[in-house]
C-alpha cells in the first residue's frame, strides 16, 4: 500500500514537474507547480512528517503559489511565443541532458551509495513538537538568521515600492 502510494505520487510529481516546463501558458505552468508541491507533501506524509507535509501545502502550495498566480493574473501574461530553436540547442540539448543526468546519478551514488531502502512508518520524529524543539535548540542560529534575511527582503521590497511612487 505504501509503495503504491509512493509510486503514484512520485509519478504525479515528476509528470507535473515536466509539465511546468512544457506548458506554454504561465497559469498552466504555475498550476502544475502546485501539483508538484502537493505530491511532495504526500511523500512527506508517508515518510512520517505530517507537520512538514501540512506546512508544505499551507506555505508553498497555498501562499507562495497564490502570489505567483496573483502576479500572473495582474500582469495578464499571455502564452509564450514559440520561436525556432537555436542550432546549439538542437545539437547539444540531448547530449547535455544525458551528461547532466549522469552527473546527478554519479554524485548520488558517491554520497548516498550506502543508504538503504526507505522504510515507511519508521520515522516518528516529524510532529509539530519535534520540529519546534529542533528549530529552537539545534537550529536556532540558522532559524534566526533566516528570519533576519526575510526581514531584509521585506524592507527591500518596501524601499523599492516607495521609489516607484515618487
Amino acid at each position: 500500500m505504501d509503495h503504491l502510494f509512493f509510486f503514484l505520487f512520485g509519478f504525479i510529481a515528476v509528470v507535473c514537474a515536466i509539465n511546468v516546463v512544457l506548458q506554454k501558458h504561465p497559469i498552466s505552468s504555475a498550476l502544475s507547480l502546485i501539483g508538484v508541491m502537493g505530491s511532495i507533501a504526500v511523500l512527506y506524509l508517508q515518510l512520517g512528517a505530517p507537520f512538514i507535509a501540512m506546512a508544505q501545502i499551507i506555505v508553498y502550495a497555498g501562499a507562495v503559489m497564490v502570489l505567483f498566480i496573483f502576479v500572473i493574473m495582474l500582469l495578464n501574461a499571455g502564452s509564450e511565443e514559440q520561436r525556432g530553436r537555436s542550432w546549439t540547442a538542437q545539437l547539444l540539448g540531448i547530449p547535455a541532458l544525458m551528461v547532466f543526468l549522469g552527473l546527478i546519478a554519479y554524485f548520488i551514488q558517491r554520497w548516498f551509495g550506502d543508504a538503504g531502502v526507505v522504510k515507511f512508518d519508521n520515522f516518528q520524529g516529524g510532529t509539530a513538537q519535534n520540529v519546534g524543539y529542533a528549530l529552537f535548540t539545534d537550529y536556532l542560529l540558522p532559524f534566526e538568521v533566516t528570519s533576519v534575511l526575510i526581514l531584509v527582503a521585506i524592507l527591500g521590497a518596501i524601499v523599492l515600492a516607495r521609489k516607484e511612487l515618487d
Partner: protein, 396 residues
C-alpha cells in the same frame, strides 16, 4: 477490512448529512433574512417552503450549462470542481462528538483523527483560493477577473489574522489534534464556568475568538466582506460567467466553508461537544426542554392558525419535535446524542450569526477591507498571541 467498511459507512452518512445541511442552510438563510426584513421568505414549495431546496437543486441540475465561447475551457470547468472539492474535504477531520458503539464496533464520531487536524483545515482553506481565483481568470471577463483578484488578495490577507487567532488556543491546548483540543477544554472553573478556550485559565481567548470570527467572514466571502461578488460594482464577481451546476458548485463551496469555519470555531473556542454547564445541574435535559417548548408552540399555533394550511402542517411539526425530545431522554441514547446536540447547537448558533450579520451589515469598501486586515486585525492578533504565549509560559 472492518476499518474500510466502517469508514465507507461514515463517509456516506457524513456526505449525505452535510450535503442536505448545505441545501437547507440556503433555506434557513432565506427565511431568516426574510423575517429580519419583515417578509415571508420561501413559502410556496411544500409547507413553509421546506421543499424549496429540493426544487432549487432540481432546477440547477436540469438547467442548460452554458459554456461561453471566450473562456479558457479547461480551467473554467476545473475551477468550480476544485472549489467544492477543497471545501468538502475539510469536514473529514472535524469531530462531531465522542464515540459511538453499534453492533460491537466502537468508532469515533469523526472520519479521521489526525494529529495535525487543524493544519489540514488551514491547508484546505488556503487551497480553496484557487477555485475562485481560477474561475475569475478563466472566464475571460473583466468583472470576474476583478472578483477573482479581490478574492485572492482578501483571502491571503485574512488568512494571517485567522492563523494567528487559531494559534493562541493551540498554545493553551498544546496539541494540534481537534479531538484532543476539545478534550483539553473539559471541566469547569468553580464548578460551573466551563473551561472552554474563551474562558481559558492563563489568558481567556475571547479576543482570539472575535478575531477568528471576523477573519472567517472574510475567508468565506460573506457580507460584510463579500467584495469578490459585490453586485453593484462587479455584476456578480468571479462567477459572472457560470451557470447551472457550475454556479451551484461555487455556492456549495461557500456554504461548506461556512459550516467548516463554524465547526472549527466551536471546537477551538467553544468546547466542541462539551455542555456549557455540568450534567449535575441538568444540562442533559436542555435539548428535550427546547424541543418540548418548540413542539408546544407549534401545536398551539396549529390550533389557532394564522394561515389556513397551518392547521395541518404545524401539529405535524409539533409531534415531530415532541418525538425528538422524547428520544433525547432515552438513557442509552444520551451519551451519543448529547455531545452531538451541543456540537450542533453551538455550530448552528454561529451559522445563525453569519446569516444575522448578512441581514444587518452593509458591505465594506475595498481599501477599508485591506486596511482593516493589515493595520488593525493583524497587529491585534499578533499581540494576543504574544500575551497568550507569555502567560502560558509563565503558568507552566
Amino acid at each position: 477490512m472492518e476499518f474500510i467498511v466502517i469508514t465507507l459507512i461514515k463517509t456516506a452518512i457524513i456526505a449525505f448529512v452535510l450535503l442536505t445541511t448545505l441545501a437547507y442552510l440556503q433555506w434557513v438563510e432565506r427565511k431568516v433574512i426574510a423575517h429580519v426584513q419583515v417578509r415571508m421568505g420561501p413559502s410556496r414549495v411544500g409547507p413553509h417552503g421546506l421543499l424549496q431546496p429540493l426544487a432549487d437543486v432540481i432546477k440547477l441540475i436540469t438547467k442548460e450549462g452554458v459554456l461561453p465561447p471566450h473562456v479558457n475551457k479547461f480551467f473554467y470547468l476545473l475551477a468550480p470542481f476544485f472549489a467544492v472539492f477543497m471545501a468538502l474535504l475539510s469536514i473529514s477531520v472535524i469531530p462531531f462528538g465522542t464515540s459511538i458503539t453499534l453492533f460491537g464496533h466502537t468508532t469515533a464520531m469523526q472520519m479521521t483523527d489526525l494529529n495535525v487536524g487543524i493544519l489540514v483545515i488551514l491547508a484546505n482553506s488556503s487551497m480553496g483560493v484557487y477555485g475562485i481565483a481560477l474561475g475569475g481568470w478563466a472566464s475571460n471577463n473583466k468583472y470576474s477577473l476583478l472578483g477573482g483578484l479581490r478574492s485572492s488578495a482578501q483571502m491571503i490577507s485574512y488568512e494571517l489574522p485567522l492563523s494567528l487567532a487559531v494559534a493562541s488556543p493551540l498554545l493553551i491546548a498544546g496539541t494540534l489534534s481537534l479531538r484532543e483540543i476539545v478534550n483539553m477544554q473539559a471541566g469547569y472553573h468553580f464548578g460551573f464556568i466551563p473551561r472552554w478556550a474563551i474562558f481559558a485559565y492563563p489568558f481567556p481567548q475571547i479576543f482570539a475568538f472575535i478575531i477568528f470570527m471576523i477573519s472567517a467572514f472574510a475567508e468565506t466571502n460573506r457580507i460584510p466582506f463579500d467584495l469578490p461578488e459585490a453586485e453593484n460594482e462587479l455584476v456578480a464577481g468571479f462567477h459572472v460567467e457560470y451557470s447551472s451546476m457550475k454556479f451551484a458548485a461555487f455556492f456549495m463551496a461557500e456554504y461548506a466553508n461556512m459550516v467548516t469555519v463554524c465547526s472549527v470555531a466551536t471546537l477551538l473556542f467553544l468546547g466542541g461537544w462539551l455542555p456549557p454547564w455540568p450534567v449535575a445541574y441538568g444540562s442533559n435535559f436542555v435539548a428535550s426542554a427546547i424541543l418540548f417548548v418548540a413542539g408546544a408552540v407549534c401545536i398551539y399555533h396549529g390550533l389557532n392558525p394564522a394561515r389556513p394550511f397551518d392547521r395541518y402542517t404545524l401539529p405535524v411539526f409539533g409531534v415531530m419535535f415532541f418525538g425528538l425530545g422524547a428520544v433525547m431522554l432515552v438513557p442509552f441514547m444520551v451519551p451519543v446524542l448529547m455531545p452531538l446536540f451541543w456540537f450542533l447547537a453551538k455550530t448552528g448558533f454561529l451559522l445563525f450569526v453569519f446569516i444575522w450579520i448578512r441581514a444587518t451589515l452593509p458591505r465594506f469598501r475595498y481599501d477599508q477591507l485591506m486596511g482593516f486586515a493589515w493595520k488593525f486585525l493583524f497587529p491585534v492578533a499578533l499581540l494576543n498571541l504574544l500575551v497568550t504565549g507569555l502567560l502560558v509560559a509563565l503558568a507552566s
